[in-house]
Symmetry: C2
DNA sequence: TTGTACGCGTTATCAT
DNA sequence: ATGATAACGCGTACAA
């Protein structure tokens, strides 16, 4: 008796009963299994629609060990770069029949650990992660690797060896391009507002900066190199430090656009003319850089390309039924491009 | 024999075996069931940690009909307002032990339908949705309602009655405040760049705009009221239309900041001085409005408050084990506030 | 306080 | 091409 049956939902058994078929046949018909008569399949699909049947992913996943769900851990969705990456990832995954669980770590290592646990409990088929700037221990991802689930790191990736796929931007080149551009524009005393060296991103950008400086035999003033969290407040603080004693820099390369914007605003307030007295370049090509006056030169990271590569990789690794490797040995490199704007103009 | 057992994972049976207990006891210990000896519970927790046990959410969900997962459908994560709302929702839900599946509809109705299907297949405990601007038929959410799963709409909500909770900003008031402010600043010929009237948002904002105009007995020029998708391109087109024939408006209220920014840029290019010759107000208080020159007056929507209320509501509705209603009859209203900046200054 | 036994909805295996 | 049956891992009513 179905009387009083709360939360009633139709299952393949209901379809089977209505069609006088066995549940196995229903399952096969719904999963495009080859050995199903054309008419039977049509009947099943029709009846499923009629009964409003929706596959229960928990039951299916429990049995088949595949959830068709991918986990994603990122610092914040509100950062422009990440927002763009996510959008592409989700759209592309959707085309391949995968869902995406997006989780924010808020740049907290402990949160990142918890989220990894939760996603493992959800038995996602694969995990995509842009780690915290402070993440140096990656053991919370071990379970996925051990269990044969692909792990893809992008943007902020492990520096040491790890059995996972790495997808990264060419941070060295980005920093090198930006710095070289400042030099070509006539800057001689260039400052660098950079992030913490725990992250590969800022290690590489620092190296790119230094390479460009060296190549042109320009001295690097240690008081003008900052390794700090890239917030507006910290950037203002750095500017203050550089411009309150003696002659400040005539060029600034900032490792993110938030810092570059803060620098521009500091300069405006103090009457330092950009680009005449100070040229500024940022990183990420955040939409804000095009809107502020003067518009800021910045490094484009092609987030949607990053997203596309990630999905390509995930799909490829997951289709390796033949027990192929669960990761790619060579990191995937995404190109960068310098977008030149008014903040570094020579007029 | 465990030999050759690929994808081996520890289950409560492994813990039971290791401890010479029954699986039932393990389950109880792990779920904080009252009738478990303190020592037993400790032993279980310890062994679980030792074996690296992680609950299989599919199995537990299948059995208990609760996934501790909430679904979220939004147009785009990259819109500032939504990004902020999401962040709060996820953080707050996490505190209550819920995970969040975030899906983007890309403002496409058919995608929204598909995502609703997928989330239903995942048997999320509740669904949060900010609908597409074109969504007028909400039947794809019916299954959740019928099944007793709370549905919470925010921002873009159904206009007609629907057995779901509504959480909305005070759009009427926001538009009224912005328009009144323009009038108080001396504007007599005010234009309105608005969104499609299929959405409650723009209906309410249009009404707020008209109310303010009426109250001050200002005429509304129908050629200066635009109902269109709120893109940069459309805004530029509207500006062009208004300023190429005769005297243009001296005030503009735009229903989003992207349009307001585009208007400012058009004005800059054409030598129309803002705020002297044209005053502009936007909507959402996007960070870009504070950065552009001149900074733009805009309506703050308190996205984190929206997020907080959403989670409060979800948690409350889900804890209604006692067969309470699955929705709130009264919509929850989130206040708005006008942030005044240079673009409407009277200096 | 703990154990036994069953079922959640689906899919894989074997049989027909 | 289809059916019967077992199993995935867990939670719970009932028994002990």
């Amino acid at each position: 008796m179905a009387v009083g049956k709360k939360n009633y939902q139709n299952t393949i058994l209901d379809i089977a009963e209505a069609l006088k078929l066995s549940p196995a046949t229903i399952s096969r018909a719904l999963n495009n299994h080859p050995y199903v008569k054309e008419k039977t399949r049509n009947d099943v699909v029709e009846m499923a629609a009629k009964l409003g049947y929706r596959r229960n992913l928990m039951a299916s996943g429990l049995r088949s060990n595949r959830t068709h769900t991918i986990g994603l851990i990122i610092p914040r969705v509100s950062m422009f770069f990440h927002a763009e990456v996510i959008t592409t990832i989700q759209n592309d995954l959707h085309k391949h029949g995968y869902s995406l669980i997006i989780c924010q770590s808020n740049d907290s290592v402990s949160m990142e650990r918890e989220l990894a646990e939760t996603l493992y409990s959800s038995r996602v088929d694969a995990l995509i992660a842009a780690c915290t700037l402070q993440t140096v221990d990656f053991s919370h991802f071990d379970k996925f690797v051990e269990h044969g689930n692909p792990v893809i790191f992008y943007d902020r990736v492990p520096v040491e060896d790890y059995k996972a796929t790495l997808i990264k931007g060419d941070d060295f080149k980005g920093a090198y391009l930006a710095t070289s551009h400042l030099i070509a524009a006539g800057c001689k005393r260039i400052a660098h507002i950079s992030g913490p060296l725990t992250s590969n991103l800022y290690q590489d950008r620092a190296a790119g900066f230094l390479k460009a400086m060296e190549e042109h035999q320009l001295p690097v003033n240690p008081d003008w190199v900052f390794h700090q969290e890239l917030t507006q407040g910290n950037a203002l603080f750095a500017m203050q430090k550089m411009f309150t004693t003696g002659a400040g820099p005539d060029g600034l390369f900032a490792d993110n656009d938030t810092s570059a914007i803060a620098a521009i605003e500091y300069a405006k307030e103090k009457g330092i003319i950009v680009p005449d007295a100070l040229k500024v370049a940022g990183y990420s090509n955040d939409p804000r850089t095009a809107i502020i006056t003067p518009a800021i030169t910045s490094v484009e990271q092609f987030p949607s390309l990053v997203g596309r590569r990630i999905v390509e990789t995930v799909v490829e690794l997951l289709s390796n039924d033949a027990e192929g490797p669960t990761y790619k040995i060579e990191p995937v490199m995404i190109p960068v491009e310098l977008i030149v704007r008014k903040s570094t103009s020579t007029n």
